[in-house]
Each structure stands twice: as C-alpha cells, then as structure tokens.
Amino acid sequence: MGMCVLDSAESVFCRADIISTVEFNYSGELLATGDKGGRVVIFQREQESKNRPLSRGEYNVYSTFQSHEPEFDYLKSLEIEEKINKIRWLPQQNAAHFLLSTNDKTIKLWKISERDKRAEGYNLKDEDGRLRDPFRITTLRVPVLMPMDLMVEASPRRIFANAHTYHINSISVNSDHETYLSADDLRINLWHLEITDRSFNIVDIKPANMEELTEVITAAECHPHQCNVFVYSSSKGTIRLCDMRAAALCDRHSKFFEEPEDPSSRSFFSEIISSISDVKFSHSGRYMMTRDYLSVKVWDLNMENRPVETYQVHEYLRSKLCSLYENDCIFDKFECCWNGSDSAIMTGSYNNFFRMFDRNTRRDITLEASRENSKPRAMLKPRKVCTGGKRKKDEISVDSLDFNKKILHTAWHPKENVIAVAATNNLYIFQDKIN
C-alpha cells in the first residue's frame, strides 16, 4: 500500500475544551476523545448502507459523559485537574464497551452500553412512573419489552484511586485482558481490573534522596502479545524493557535502549529534546516507536544500542531551541501512532501540521488540519516548511509557524486508513480516498 492521500469526511467536531487524548477501540468502530474539562466523547462509525452510499463510514457522536471532576487534595491544598490524560479501550467481550480513563491521580473503568428496549405494562406503576392504586388492579399482566429510541449509557464500574503520588502519564491494558498498568513520574503500578483497593508497585525510580533525582518516567506500555513484558521511557531518552517474570519488582530492566549521543550536535538542550514523550509498540510486537521533541525513532526489540529507523519531524526547529525553551514549547509532549499494518507512522507538529512516514518507501508527507482545508470530500494538500533561502509559493517559513496550534494527539484506525487528529479543541477525522 502506498502513501495514502486523504480526503476529509464531514468530520470536524468542535468542542468547548481542549482535547487531551484520542483513541480508537480495537475494531475501529468507536473513537473516544477526552478533554481538559474531564469529559469523554465517543464517536461511532456509521454502518455503510446501500441507502446512503455517500455516508461511507462517517463518525457521529455516540455518547458523552463526564468522566472526572476536579478534586481537592487536602494534604497539599491543591486542586487535582479533571483533565483526561489517557483513554484506553478494553477488548470487547460482550455487547457493552469498556474503557479506562485517567486524570492525574485516578483511573476509572467505564461501561458504555446501549439500551433500545423498554419494559411496558407494569402492574404496580403507570407508564409515567406513578404508583397505581392497588385496589384498582384487577388483572395481572406480564410487562412487554417495547422498542425505544436508542439510549447509550455510560456508568463507572470501577474507580482505581489513591495509588499515585505523582501525575499519571500512561495507562496500558495488558494482553491478558485482566490486568493493566498505570505509570506516573516515578512509579509504575500493576492493577487487576476487578480489584480497586490495591495495586502492585512494579517499578519505583524514586531515589532515597530526592536531591539525586535527575530522571523521570515519561510513558509506559504493555507488550501487545507478551503479557509479562512492558516498556517505559524516561526523560533522558532511554527506554527500559522489563519482564515481570524475572522479578516481582522490575527496577532492574531486562533490556535498555539508548542511542549514543551525537557529540557534534550537543547543546544545552540536548537532554530536554531527547526526553521521550510517547512510546508505542507496533501491532506485531516486534518493534516499538518513541517520540522525542524533534524526531520519531523505530526500535527493533532485539537491538538495544540504536534505533533501526529515525524520522525527522521538524528538524528546522533545531536552530530555534533557545526560543522554544523560553516559550515552553520545548516541553510539549507529542504522541505518535502506527497504522494497522505497521507500515506507516504518524505524529503531530506545530501550525496544525501532522506528519506521516511510510516505512517502506521512506516517503513522508506533511498535512494540515485546519477548517479552511477541510471542506467535505476535499483532498488535503501536502504542506511544506521552507527552511531557508527562497520561499516557494505554497511554502510556509519557519518564522510564520503558529506554535500555539500544536497537534499533540493523533490516532490511526486499527484496520483502515482513517485517522483522527486533535487540533486544540477541534477533532478532525480524515479518510483515505477511494476511487
């Protein structure tokens, strides 16, 4: 499959709050988004039907609920943000859908279920709920299930709280579908989905003397197939792979991935830009991908000393690092994602640009998620950043980039070429053009 050119469906959703996470479920039928206000909005793909051939697989709002509320930590006298940091779906086991959503401190398991039938004909109460006068009941009837308008209900089934002192940055469901891990800056805990009052601490990098702290955990993920393996990345650009069979406490890693630093490009910001903001296993489980400030790297799990592929996302920013440090953009945490076949990867950038790389052809493309470019069925035009010299007609110069428009969260449908791109408080859904 070649590099896909995308057109857009009528899928631009604007909301009041900044979107903070985007995730497709295992089938791709559902797309969940979380925002800064603690809300989760789930979109569902329309079934393609002969009656409406043009609405081929559009996403529409399926359910909206308030997942987290702001809380107050009495010990520290500060508010715990309700912003949803991550959403992860559970594999579907019955008619209902389950997902985990987390803010800085608390993880919740939500059940999303449909109700399209209602019982009518109760003996003891009227249709509007009022109790019937018992003396007036002369016959016994059996309530009948009648169809009703589809109602989608979200209910919290488990609340996993009070296990993290620091801010949770990752959750990941294990391939055993029974456990999941949650990671904060210094610790990783392993939970059982049924048990909320305790968790196992499996990684703890908190030094005995906090003065010695120089490195924190930035992301963690379970291996897609081996339920005993997980990885976590650090602020120093390293990834540690741990095997839970080796020891109960995984402070010692099984594998340690780090690329030696290029001495010629060393600067005051080398460490900051090497900090890994996201780590994702490939669907195959053979590779993993890491995102640091300027690049995306693909690692072979069997080779620890360097990545097998490196893709520059926006190398033109390297000369601007000091300004980006000053305006805090250098601390932005970009995510990255694989396509279903692991042949392509995608990540976001500034100016509402996002980048896609084809691993086979080594071609890359820059696209923009903006209202102007997103007329229905419109083709997305490739964008280019001019790095110096003469600016060509459609190019945009580095200095004109809008650093407030950042695409931090993207998601790729597990099977098809459908992508979801979150640009501040707009969600764009793009689909592959099929002739």
Binding site: Y74, S199, F200, N201, A208, L213, A248, S275
Partner: protein, 263 residues
C-alpha cells in the same frame, strides 16, 4: 595615519567565539533561572519540567566550572558581589526552604561579567537545586532507612485522611521535627505507625511553604542573618532527646549559618 586611530583588538577571534558561547550560556542560565523561580511559586510544578530545568541548570553550572578551570588571568573575579534586583522581589522569593534565600544573598552580578559570580553561583545554584529537590520530598525523615519494599507486597491504598496529615506539614523544619518526636497527639502517632514513612514522605511538598512563609509576615525577604537567627532558637529549646532527624536538622541549619557568615 589611519593606523593611529585604529583600535587594536587582542585575541579577536577567541573573544568572538567566546562571547557567542558566553551569551548563549547567559541566556540559558537566565531563562532556566526564571523558569525555576516561576515553578517554585507554583503550587505544584510538574516534576518532569522541574527535573529537566534543574538538569539544564546543572549543566550550565558544570560548563561554567570547566570554563573557569581553563581560564586564567584578568578574567577572574572582579565585580563585587551584588544582589540581583529581581531576586530581591519579595513576593517572588520562593519558599523552597532556606536554600533559595541563600541564593538571593549569594548570587552576584550576572549581567556582564558572569564569570565573576561563578564560584559563589555554583554553590548557591547547587544548594538551590538541592533545596528544591529535597523539598519535593519531606523533611519528615523521622526514621532510619526507608523500609524495604517486599516482593509481591501490594501497596495498600492509603485512605486520604487530610486531617491528620495536615498537621504533619512543616512550617519549617524544626516544627516538623518536634511533631515527629513525640509532641504529636496519640491519634497522630497511631497514624504514623499505620502508614509507612515512605508514603508520608511522598505527599509533602513546597505548597505548604507558601502559606507559612507569608505568615511570617515580613515584607522583604532579604534574609539578613539576624532575622534568620530569630527562627533558629526554637531548635535549641526543643526537647533534649535528639532523634536522628533532629540532629540532621541541626547540622543543616549550622551549615546554612556558615554560609551566611561567610557572605
């Protein structure tokens, strides 16, 4: 004729490179320091951000040290110590323990001859960094070593009982010292036994300093030595049973006093 009016420039190329590096070092230091201060004023600075900024500051520090060791002659300390105007701003002065106040005393002119401040700057920087990170943890370091985590021991969720923990915050180290030593009511000591010390250590941070420092009431935070001493005597009046934490506090405060005396 023309040569007479021409200024001779010694080591022109060296100075050119050096000044570029110098200005870069300067801006990184300025920006980092500014961020560090702003973050300390926040109730809960992001740990990742703090660590990255601290590491950058450390890097700047070591660069300065290396360059100092390679420098000789007239570029050494010249400018007399001078407190940075912005560091005097009392509201901004961070409650990151006494270490930060030492910075305000020890930091010198950073604008032009930044080499000049380097030795004192090194020290005050490192003490500032140490203070920040230490205050991310608690000084309620009341016991011997942190109990070992046992394998497969699950971490019981600590009930979030704010009442007891609130009183364990430390306005300054001596008070907390007293609390842990046994001035605590029975209920609190029971709580201490139930919760592991390690868990307690986790949850105390500099936010409590904000309230406490302001409650000291003074407008200026120039921290002259005698004002500082005012807060110290409470240590000497504390019960005579020195716990390990008590002696440690004493040692640290003596250390701080040494610095003040030196400056």
């Amino acid at each position: 004729m023309g040569a007479r009016g021409l200024k001779r420039k010694v080591h022109e190329s060296n100075e050119g490179e050096g000044s570029v590096w110098q200005s870069q070092l300067q801006s990184v230091l300025d920006i980092s320091w500014d961020k560090f201060q702003r973050d300390q004023a926040l109730v809960e600075p992001s740990l990742l951000r703090s660590v990255l900024i601290n590491n950058t500051l450390r890097q700047v520090q070591s660069e300065v040290r290396t360059s100092l060791s390679g420098i000789s002659g007239p570029r050494k300390l010249q400018a007399p110590p001078r407190v940075l105007p912005e560091l005097r701003s009392q509201r901004e002065c961070t409650p990151a323990g006494l270490g930060a106040s030492i910075c305000s005393l020890g930091l010198e002119n950073m604008e032009d001859d930044f080499m000049a401040w380097s030795t004192d700057e090194d020290f005050s920087l490192s003490s500032a960094i140490s203070a920040i990170l230490k205050n991310l943890d608690a000084a309620l370091d009341g016991g011997p070593s942190v109990p070992q985590r046992s394998a497969l021991a699950s971490v019981e969720n600590i009930p979030g009982d704010g009442r007891y923990r609130q009183s364990l915050t430390f306005s300054h180290k001596t008070e907390s010292c007293r609390t842990s030593e046994g001035g605590a009511p029975a209920s609190m000591s029971g709580f201490l036994q139930d919760a592991t010390i390690d868990d307690l250590l986790l949850d105390i941070d500099t936010s409590v300093f904000n309230g406490e420092v302001n409650s000291f009431g003074s407008g200026t935070f120039s921290f002259p030595a005698d004002e500082l001493v005012r807060y110290l005597p409470s240590l000497s009046s504390s019960p005579s049973a020195p716990s390990s934490s008590g002696s440690r506090e004493m040692h640290e405060l003596e250390h701080i006093m040494d610095i003040l005396v030196r400056t």
